[in-house]
Symmetry: C2
Subunit: 346 residues, 2 copies
């Protein structure tokens, strides 16, 4: 699907106008000549206010996420890849098989139509890769200066086809915490791109769908207790959210958490701690100790889990804190971030 295949009249309308969100002819043209070109033909029954779906089961997961990342395009992805993978991953973290996404655009008057088409293509490609369909959408346009090019909301529906209860309260003392790879790349990629920083090696976002690797774990019979993807606030915030619901101490070894050398250097230069930096293709899984080696093997065989490793465990101690054992063996509390380390990273 290249630029040429889009019948939208880019020369006539090189930029988004307020009328493209007004419910009239221009909005209809945008939908028919751009969106339905990417996301599939108009249904034979006609476009309607909502989409009727027959699910394979009535036990579902439902989630929503808005994306306001700046800049819109960055090494390793763009706001479109984020918008799909972010919601796919939120569904996967409940052990659901993601099936359907909605797509809500808030466009700023003046956005280049070519940029919109690039993002639409990216959404389509990413959705295909993750095995999900965009089934319903909405477009609004706000006046120039009241947005930032484009904001995207995706909501998602997935089906739950197993008997596990993958939630914080299922975490038990003795559980082992696994991660599927190195941390900090997404946040640093976006920040470097935003600030125009040029490192020796271009750091690319780790943005990736996690539903496939998760389904392998579940299908293999791993008794996954909880999972969480490491987005805003990074690994440290995800662990802190979970300890609060679990009322157990989590112990993590700093040396065990993989950080690429170039990410560590960039963090040192910019004054960030990679444990707090956002990722978009990383998750932690809480699994019983006696299944952890097998779970790691499964993860490592998948492209999204080649760098998988064990980073810590859940203690019997009921204090809801995360302790970090440093390289030199000292232990300190790894707190939730109090302010905003990296704004508008997703």
């Amino acid at each position: 699907m290249d630029s040429i295949s889009c019948p939208f009249p880019f020369q006539q309308y090189p930029h988004v106008l307020l009328a493209h969100g007004g419910g009239g002819k221009l909005m209809q043209q945008l939908i028919e000549k751009m969106f339905t070109v990417a996301f599939g033909p108009k249904p034979a029954t006609g476009l309607h206010d909502s989409t009727v779906l027959n699910l394979p089961t009535s036990k579902i997961a439902f989630t929503t996420d808005s994306f306001v990342v700046r800049p819109l395009f960055f090494p390793g992805g763009d706001i479109g890849t984020l918008a799909v993978n972010g919601t796919v991953n939120d569904l996967a973290m409940s052990g659901a098989r993601p099936l359907y996404l909605s797509l809500g655009f808030i466009l700023e008057e003046g956005l280049e139509m070519e940029s919109l088409w690039r993002i639409v293509r990216s959404i389509k490609t990413t959705a295909d890769a993750a095995g999900v369909k965009i089934v319903t959408g909405d477009t609004k346009v706000v006046d120039r200066g009241k947005g930032d090019g484009i904001y995207i909301n995706t909501s998602g529906i997935g089906v739950i086809e197993h008997g596990l209860s993958i939630v914080p309260s299922s975490v038990k003392a003795g559980d082992v915490i696994l991660i599927n790879g190195d941390v900090g790349r997404h946040g640093i990629a976006v920040m470097a791109s935003r600030e125009g920083l040029d490192f020796e090696t271009t750091i690319e976002s780790d943005c990736a769908p996690l539903n496939d690797i998760v389904s392998l774990l579940i299908k293999a019979g791993i008794d996954v207790h909880c999972m969480r993807d490491l987005t805003r606030g990074g690994l440290a915030s995800a662990l802190n959210e979970i300890v609060q619901d679990v009322s157990r101490t989590i112990q993590v070894s700093e040396a065990a958490v993989p950080v690429r050398e170039e990410v560590a250097s960039a963090c040192a230069i910019m004054g960030f701690d990679p444990l707090y930096v956002a990722n978009e293709g990383r998750f932690i899984a809480f699994v019983p100790e006696d299944q952890s080696s097998r779970a790691l093997e499964i993860m490592r065989r998948h492209p999204a889990g080649q760098g998988a490793c064990r980073i810590g465990e859940v203690l019997a101690d009921s204090r809801p804190v995360v302790t970090l054992t440093s390289y030199i063996g000292a232990s300190r509390i790894l707190d939730m971030i109090s302010g905003q380390q990296l704004p508008r990273i997703c």
Copy 2:
């Protein structure tokens, strides 16, 4: 649920900060001390990336809508009431029983926390009235000058518990078109409020949930062929969208379309045609001629349908146009709006 019942520290944080969307302590405080106060306690299993739901059936409707109305508060409603009723109504138009909504906030740095709380309460009250639950959410904050106070996305899931196929392609020649009341109030209410216009009578938005009146029609066995709510672009655009999918001529009588006197006057002053002005509690239903009187009776017994009436019919002619018979008996084509009559009305 009044202001006093909210434990959020308004004095300490009178305005939204970037950190309220940063994934750290401040965001957690906002969620726990404001959002979960309104939308129900944190589940015993812990807050998670997506919400697991057991639906009563696996045939569902799914829809999404973003809301960017300006101003945020207007006579008869606010962005919160719109965000709930808009999505509830999109589900109802497919004949679905709306059950669950997601809620995505894009907040602008500097928004008054008291305004946010007022909107949150409004969402809660409106959701309760419509019988839907907010089950998952997301909050992002964009820098000052990159938003307009607040944008809201709601996506919704409803269940379909009947055998009708309520879609444009079900419309047949001979169908009668019913409307549930007068048109044009929402758009005029918002526009008058935005422009500071002071009419003799305050025109209030018609914003209302339509799921209940729709379910009465379906339960009574009315063979509803299609429905559509009359939002952006108004009655004229809704009719035009449908004729394109149906390939039949629709004939509407101008005199039959109810318009309140004050709305007609305001439209005359501002240069609008009420047939193109947005509504948020109005819909049209296509029903077989021989059931139309009974359908009207049912609608009129409901508070949302007291002004229900017949406005037109579907002809056997296969030209996909909407013709309007004027007060003096002349007939003209009622086209889809080409530009943007009223920007940011929803």
